[in-house]
Amino acid sequence: MKVLVPVKRVIDYNVKARVKPDQSGVDLANVKMSMNPFDEIAVEEAVRLVEGKEHHAAGTATEIVVVSIGPAQAQETIRTALAMGADRGVLIQSDSDLEPLAVAKVLQKVVEEEQPNLVLMGKQAIDGDNNAVGQMLAALLGWPQATFASKLVVAGDSAEVTREIDGGLQTLKVSLPAVVTTDLRLNTPRYASLPNIMKAKKKEIAMKAVADYGVDTAPRLKVLKVTEPPKRQAGVKVDNAADLVAKLRNEAGVL
C-alpha cells in the first residue's frame, strides 16, 4: 500500500503569532517555522504502517511519499518527514500561501499522478486553522473521508477509523482509497535519530512548481485586514472563598 502524506511548513507550535502593525497579516519574519504538528502525526502514523508498530501489521504500507506546497524552505519540512521514515518527497514551490481549495486541487493532481491507496494528513494547519483541505481533497476525488482520527486500523481494502467527535468517539469503516485526517491523540511523533537524519539527506525530493499542475489557484477570498483579538483585562485578586462567592453573587451576578 502506498501512502501520500501532505505536509505544511507553518509557524512553530510554541511561537505566539504577532499581528503586523499595518494589519496586513501575521509577522513571520525571523520566526521559527516547523512542520504543522497534525502533519507530523500523519507522517508518524504512515511510518508505523510500514514498520508494523502498535496494532499495525508490518508492511501494511510499503511506500510513503511526502508532498508539500510552499516556499523553497519547505524542503526542510520534507527532510524532517524523510528523516522520520518517509521514502521520498515532492516539493511544489509556491511563493504565496494557497487557499485550501487551491491546495486540494493541486493535491488532487498529485494523487492522480502518484495513485496512493491512502492519503494521511493533518486535520488542520495551525496557521489558517481552516480544517478543510482533507475533506475538500476527498470530495474532489470522490473518495470517502474519515476526519479527526484517533485510531486507524487498515485491513485489506478498507480502513477502520475511530474519530474524535463532540461528546465521544465514532468508528467508521471506509473503503480504500480514502482520505484520513489526523487528530492529536492518534500517536506521539518520534524525534528523528541522527543516522536517520543523515540518511534522509540522500533521499529524493522532486522539485515542481504549482504551474506544472495546470489548476487555477487564484485566491477566491480577499483578506481585508488581520487584527489582534480584543484583550481581556486582568481583574481583581481575592484571597478567600467567602469573598469570591460574594463577588460572583453580588458583583458579577453569575451565581
Partner: protein, 309 residues
C-alpha cells in the same frame, strides 16, 4: 437570496447552536430555510419550524444521515444548492467534517469558524489559534460557512414554518461501525452556563475526579480540562477546552490548577466571567481572569465548596 441552515440536533431535540446559526444567517438573508438531517428526527424538525424567522424546514432521513456521514450529507445538500446562495452550519465536529466537502463540490472557498458576519460578503474568523482575527471578503456565488456558535445570540422561538420531507441518501463507501459517547448527567460542555475546568496540577485522574467533579455538580456546571490534563490522562479528550478541543463561552468559567497556555485561552477567553485558582501567582491565566485567587487548589476548592453552602 435564500440561505440554508443545516441543523445540529440529536433527533429528539434541536441544539441551540442551530438557533445561533440562524442568527448568523439573518445577516445574509431574510429567507432562511433549515435542513434537519437524521433518523426519526420529526421532533427536532418541529422545533426548527418554531425558530423565529425560519421560512421552511426540510428533513431528510437515512442511517448515514443519522451519523452525519459526510458523503451522505453531501449527497443530500448538493442538489438543494441550486436554490440557495449560501449554506451555514455550526462549526461542530460534524459541521467541520461535511461543510468543506460541500464547498469543494460547489467549487467555492469555504468560510470556516466564522465569529462575526460584518455584511453579506464580509466575515471575521480566528486564525493562528485565535491569536489573530482575519476579516475576509468573499464574492463567491455560493457560500459555505461554518459558524462558531458561541459568538452569536440564539434566535428566538414562536415561528411556525412548514416542514417538508425530502429524499435521504447514504454513503456507499463508508459504513458506521460504532459509537462510544460519554454518558453524563451534567450539561453539555459547549452549552453549559457554568464550566469548571481542571489542569495538570491535579496530578492524577482520581484527583481530577475528586476535586473538579463535586464542585461542578454543586454548581450544575459542565466539566472541562486543559490539554495538558487530557494529554496526561487525567481527563477524557472530550473535556478538552482550547484551540484543539472545545471553544466555550459560558457565563462563568472556573479554571483550577490551569496555567493558561495560549491554546487553552483560545478556547475560553470569550467567557463572561473567568475565575482562576492557581498557586503560581505568575500563571498567565491570571491575566485574563476577572477574579484571581492565588491558592493551592487542595485547600481552595474545599473552602469554596463550604462557602457555596
Amino acid at each position: 437570496m435564500a440561505v440554508l441552515v443545516i441543523a445540529d440536533h440529536d433527533n429528539a431535540h434541536l441544539r441551540d447552536t442551530t438557533h445561533k446559526t440562524v442568527t448568523a444567517a439573518r445577516a445574509l438573508s431574510g429567507d432562511i430555510d433549515v435542513l434537519v438531517l437524521g433518523q426519526n428526527c420529526a421532533a427536532a424538525a418541529k422545533e426548527a419550524a418554531g425558530i423565529e424567522g425560519v421560512r421552511k424546514v426540510l428533513t431528510a432521513e437515512s442511517a448515514g444521515l443519522d451519523k452525519m456521514i459526510a458523503e451522505a450529507v453531501e449527497a443530500v445538500v448538493l442538489p438543494l444548492m441550486d436554490g440557495y446562495d449560501a449554506v451555514l452550519t455550526p462549526a461542530t465536529s460534524a459541521g467541520k467534517n461535511f461543510a468543506p466537502r460541500i464547498a469543494a463540490r460547489l467549487d467555492t472557498a469555504p468560510l470556516t469558524d466564522v465569529v462575526e458576519v460584518v455584511d453579506a460578503s464580509t466575515f471575521v474568523r480566528p486564525i493562528y489559534a485565535g491569536n489573530a482575527l482575519e476579516t475576509v471578503q468573499s464574492n463567491e456565488a455560493k457560500k459555505v460557512i461554518t459558524v462558531r456558535p458561541t459568538t452569536f445570540k440564539a434566535a428566538g422561538t414562536g415561528g411556525s414554518a412548514t416542514v417538508e420531507s425530502i429524499a435521504g441518501a447514504d454513503a456507499p463507501k463508508t459504513t458506521f461501525v460504532s459509537e462510544e459517547m460519554v454518558k453524563s448527567d451534567r450539561p453539555e460542555l459547549g452549552a453549559a452556563k457554568i464550566v469548571v475546568s481542571g489542569g495538570r496540577a491535579m496530578g492524577s485522574a482520581e484527583e481530577f475526579k475528586a476535586v473538579i467533579e463535586p464542585l461542578a455538580d454543586r454548581l450544575g456546571a459542565a466539566v472541562g480540562a486543559s490539554r495538558a490534563a487530557v494529554d496526561a490522562g487525567y481527563a477524557p479528550n472530550d473535556y478538552q477546552v482550547g484551540q484543539t478541543g472545545k471553544v466555550v463561552a459560558p457565563q462563568l468559567y472556573i479554571a483550577i490548577g490551569i496555567s493558561g497556555a495560549i491554546q487553552h485561552l483560545a478556547g475560553m477567553k470569550d467567557s463572561k466571567v473567568i475565575v482562576a485558582i492557581n498557586k503560581d501567582a505568575d500563571a498567565p491565566i491570571f491575566q485574563v481572569a476577572d477574579y484571581g485567587w492565588v491558592a493551592d487548589y487542595k485547600t481552595a476548592v474545599p473552602e469554596l465548596m463550604k462557602a457555596l453552602g
